[in-house]
Structures are given as structure tokens and as C-alpha cells.
Symmetry: C2
């Protein structure tokens, strides 16, 4: 049985180009002007974009792909699909169609691996009510897989990064630590059998809207999903976009059972360092231990949603989220802007 993580050098969102490098590169390109219908433009290469079709309808678009972060082909397909669909959910949208992005080492891996990867992704699309409408495949040295996803959202009900309000509670839907846990898998310290909790978490769709009443849904002011830049990196982007300070309490953050021991054992990725660098000027983590700092910089693959919620509704929202996301909870609050975009207390 092939172990996919042994076929690549680095896996998952940890393999993405660092945010600071990307910003420098994109600043030098003369992009075409945006159509007036573009409401949100994923300029930083990582958010979903929103394009308005009518007063009642906008389309949400995103794409994501990566090298294997897990060993089983079917689990890899499911994680990659859940991860790509998540960007639509993070905008308050409902995914409708998906196209596959597949790079495959023909003749090196068995073709059955493609079948399994596509089956894992198809199972998630079925669960999400998404139609699989095509894609593109190439012969390549290492396996990469992901989806380009299109969804619908009402133009007035978009969860942009800029909507967090002072006083909001910050709710995180999934535990942290997929980066270090999957690094320990890749270096064969732990097995998939020992990592069922993070594996199941990565395969869980970030579909939440169907859980809520209209009042509850309207109390969600802003959202993002936590992926490659870690809790700190994505919170920093959202806090800056909203012009607020996000305050987290480390002890309230949900972690996988193995997260701390994996970090203590030194299972790190390149992204741990680049995320620390990306966030150091704007995030205060003085009170944290080195291992705790690595938790908040841990690159997540198919991580949770971070929701900024009216405090009057947060208890009801957490209760409903728990029916699907066992580790969901309030992990911090939104404060008026201070010297820091993000402040993490022990």
C-alpha cells in the first residue's frame, strides 16, 4: 500500500508560497482593472472572490490544491475537497460546482490512486451537494490535487474579513494542530491510525449556515477559515481588514490530543517559521512558551472557521455548532484597535 506522504517533500498548506514573499511579487504586477461587478477580489491569492450577478445573487469563487498531507489516497482526496470547499463556506456561501486540479506521476503511482483520490473528493462533493463539472490533469513528478469551486451567496450576506465589530465573540469551529500532526505522520513518528482525530477534522466540511436560524446567521459579522498561515496569520488578516484587535486566550484554544507532543518533539514545517515572521510585527505572543507560539503559527489544512459573532447570540451558535463540530467554542473577543492586530494571552 502506497504511503502518499512518502512520495513528496512537503505536504498540504505547508507547501504554499509564504505570504510576505507573495505580497512583494504581486506588488510588481500590473493587473487588469476589475469589472464593477467584482465585490471581493482575492488579491492575496488566498481568499475567495465575489462577483455580483444581480441584486439577489453573487458567485463565490476559490481554488486550492496541494501535495499529499495524508497517506491514504481516499483520505487525501476528501481532505483536499473539504479544504477547497471551505473557502466558499468562509464567505457565507453555498458551494455549487467544482472542477478538479490534478497533477499525477503516471507510471510511478498506480492509476488506482487517481480513482481513490477522486472518490474521496466525490464523496465530499456529494455531502456538500456540489456538482463535479470537469477539471484538468497533467503528468507531473509528484501528486497534487485540489478543486476550483464556485458557489452562490446573497450579495448582502457576504461574510467579508472586514466585518468584525468590537465586542464580538470569536468562535473557532475546529481544533488546531494539523500541521505538526501531519509532519509527524510524514516523518513516520505517528501513523494514520494514531491520528484519527486530526484526520477526521480535516475531512469535516465547514458547512455551518444550515444549522442556524436567520437571527443567528445575521449575528455572524465576519468569518475566515484557518489554513496555511495559521490561526495567527489568518486572524491578523481579518483583524486588519476590520480595523480591530483580536484578543485570544491560549488556554481556550482547542488542540488535538497530539498537537503539543508533536510540537515538543520538533515536528515543524517551513511554514511555522514563515508564519512567525509574517505575524511578528503585528501580533503579541510574549506571554506564550515557544511551543505555544508554534501552536498559533501551525499551518492548518482544512482548518476551522473563525467566526466573529454578536455576543448575544454566541452561546446559541456554539451550542448548534457542537452538534457537528465537537471542539467548537469561544476562543477570544474583538476589541477596539490597539497597537496589535492580534493579542494572544496565556
Amino acid at each position: 500500500m502506497v504511503q502518499l506522504t512518502q512520495t513528496v517533500k512537503k505536504g498540504g498548506c505547508a507547501a504554499k508560497v509564504a505570504a510576505s514573499e507573495l505580497r512583494k511579487i504581486l506588488g510588481q504586477v500590473q493587473f487588469p482593472p476589475n469589472d464593477a461587478a467584482v465585490m471581493v477580489d482575492g488579491g492575496l491569492f488566498d481568499d475567495a472572490a465575489i462577483y455580483k450577478i444581480s441584486e439577489d445573487l453573487a458567485i463565490v469563487q476559490t481554488l486550492d490544491f496541494f501535495t499529499p498531507i495524508v497517506d491514504s489516497p481516499r483520505a487525501f482526496g476528501a481532505v483536499a475537497a473539504a479544504n477547497a470547499l471551505s473557502d466558499v463556506y468562509a464567505m457565507g456561501g453555498t458551494p455549487k460546482t467544482a472542477m478538479a486540479i490534478l497533477a499525477f506521476p503516471l507510471g510511478v503511482l498506480e492509476n488506482d490512486v487517481i480513482v481513490e483520490v477522486l472518490q474521496g473528493a466525490s464523496d465530499k462533493m456529494r455531502e456538500a451537494g456540489v456538482s463535479f463539472v470537469g477539471g484538468h490533469s497533467i503528468d507531473d513528478d509528484t501528486l497534487k490535487f485540489g478543486l476550483s469551486v464556485t458557489g452562490f451567496v446573497h450579495p448582502k450576506r457576504v461574510w467579508s474579513n472586514a466585518g468584525a465589530r468590537a465586542g464580538d465573540h470569536l468562535i473557532l469551529t475546529k481544533a488546531l494542530g494539523t500541521g505538526t500532526c501531519m509532519a509527524s505522520l510524514k516523518r513516520q513518528h505517528l501513523t494514520e491510525g494514531q491520528l484519527q482525530e486530526p484526520l477526521n477534522s480535516m475531512m469535516t466540511l465547514n458547512q455551518v449556515l444550515d444549522l442556524f436560524s436567520e437571527t443567528e446567521a445575521a449575528s455572524i459579522h465576519s468569518a475566515t477559515d484557518i489554513t496555511g498561515f495559521g490561526l495567527l496569520g489568518h486572524s491578523q488578516q481579518m483583524a486588519k481588514a476590520s480595523g480591530k484587535t483580536f484578543s485570544f486566550t491560549f488556554s481556550r484554544l482547542p488542540l488535538f490530543e497530539q498537537t503539543l507532543s508533536c510540537l515538543e518533539n520538533g515536528f515543524l514545517t517551513k511554514a511555522h517559521a514563515s508564519n512567525a515572521q509574517y505575524t511578528q510585527a503585528h501580533c503579541r505572543t510574549d506571554g506564550l512558551s515557544p511551543v505555544q507560539k508554534n501552536v498559533v503559527c501551525d499551518p492548518q489544512t482544512s482548518g476551522g472557521l473563525l467566526l466573529s459573532v454578536d455576543p448575544a447570540q454566541s452561546e446559541a451558535i456554539v451550542k448548534k455548532l457542537r452538534s457537528r463540530f465537537g471542539r467548537a467554542g469561544v476562543v477570544g473577543s474583538v476589541e477596539p484597535a490597539s497597537a496589535w492586530a492580534v493579542d494572544v494571552l496565556p
Copy 2:
């Protein structure tokens, strides 16, 4: 100055997974059911998909990406963009938004290469009136670039592969031979300077609808773009979908100045063989020489549109096409179904 073709093993659409292998693989996957709004589903991994939004509007979706087929980063970005946008034009649609798919060997190639690739693509998006709304980038062993594109089309004016009618003229908008010409570039037999004709052709947008009157546009019954499976492979798909036989006259096919000599010198790709295999049971090419057979199997990158057109309008259409596509012309006709999907006469 880096020569991008020297950084990869195989380039462009020649690197795609062969159609016959793909068909076998996809046949084993239990895909999710399609939403009733899916009008066209790019099941074979290579056409654009159509999703109906209302009686007046459908969205066209496609994605395409590949390794460098040319040496200059800016030209590579432009070719990749023109190639990806082409699938929307081939459905009769107008592209609106695009997201980038970028795999890049950080630390191996200079970051300036990314800037140039994105600039080349942005220039084409500007020309096409397309907004660049995001994308995803990963660190990878070799450069790959492409776009996921969304466009609009009227649901009743879709150019499907299934609409060709007996008696139609077949019009091809660009000359053939990018596969062998770029193979000669990669093997350093010819330079980009010597290959300006195919380079310019690959960078030319397949935008045609704006040239035509309503009557002319309505006389186009079916269309496809000629890419990795070559003239024969894509014609076979369209002829079968339409339940007709496509008859070509080899002597009428436009070729780049260097196409025949490159093929005679043995500049072939893996796709020449796999395209021949893919088409052998359904296409008659008995009367052609071995070199001519390789012309019709030559994998095109950003190749021309093949339009199936009412004969009463074909002269007017060719005349208007020539203002933008100097090599456009009638290359064959659609016949009632015979034993062959495609018949190529000398």
C-alpha cells in the same frame, strides 16, 4: 536569462494525461449527482462546463494549466492565459473572471519569473476584459501555470460539441503545429526568434463572437478548440457528440512555416503517439504520409477554434475572421454519419 523550457521534462498540453487512460480512470469513480442546473458537464476533464443561473444567463467554467512550453516567462504567462480563456470562447461564452494556478520552484527560479508570468497573463486578461480575482500558489519542483476561468453565455446560445449539422463547413481559425515547433524549441534546434509565427498564434485570444452579426453568429452550430488531443482527437469528440462524420482535406489545413520540417526532423512528443492511439479506431487517415498523420495528431497549445458553420454564411465568417486570424479558412465539411467519425483526405 533563464530558458523555461530547459527547466521541465515536458511542456504544454503535451504533458496532459492521455484521453484513453483518463476515460478508464474516470469510469471507476462514483461521482456525485449533478444539480439540474448543470447543462454541460466537462466529464472528460477537458471541456468547459455550463451551469444555468436563469433563463437568460448561464456561467461557463473551465480550468487549464501546464509546464512551460516557451522560454520567455512573459510569453509563457500569455500563452497559458490565452489557452485557458479559449475554452470559454469555444462554448460561445465571454470570459469574466480568472484565478491563477501557480506551482513555482522557489529558490531555484528567481521570483522575477513569477512577476513576468503573471504580467503576461494579466496583459491577456486585460485584452479579454477579464478580472483577475485570486488564485493559489505552491512551492513545487517545476513551474506550472494556468487559469481557472468563469464566463457568461446565454443558455440558448451555447456552442456545444453536439450541434454540428450535415452540410456545415468546418472552419479552423489557427494554423497547426505548435506541438512539434515547441518540441524543437525545447531541444534547442530552433529559437523563439525563429518561431515567432507559432508563438504569436498561441498568444492570440480565440475571441471571435464580437466580429459577427447576429445572423452570422447564429450560423455557427457547434465549436471546439483544438488543444492537447490534436485536430484529430478534438474533431473525433465533436463528430461523435454530433453523430456525424467530419471530412477534412489535408491540403487545406493551415500549417506553420516550420511544422513539416520539425516533424520531418523527428521533433515529437509523447502525445503524438497517444493521440494516434486515441483516434485510430474512429478516424481514417490512410491516404496520408507518416508526417501528415503526425500533423493531425500534433498536440496544440492554445490552438484554433474549429467552427461548424452553415455553408451560406461560411464565406462571410471566414472574411471577418481573417481580420484577426490570418490563417483562418474552410478546411472540411460535416457529412452524415459513416463508419468513421473523422475522414482525412489528402
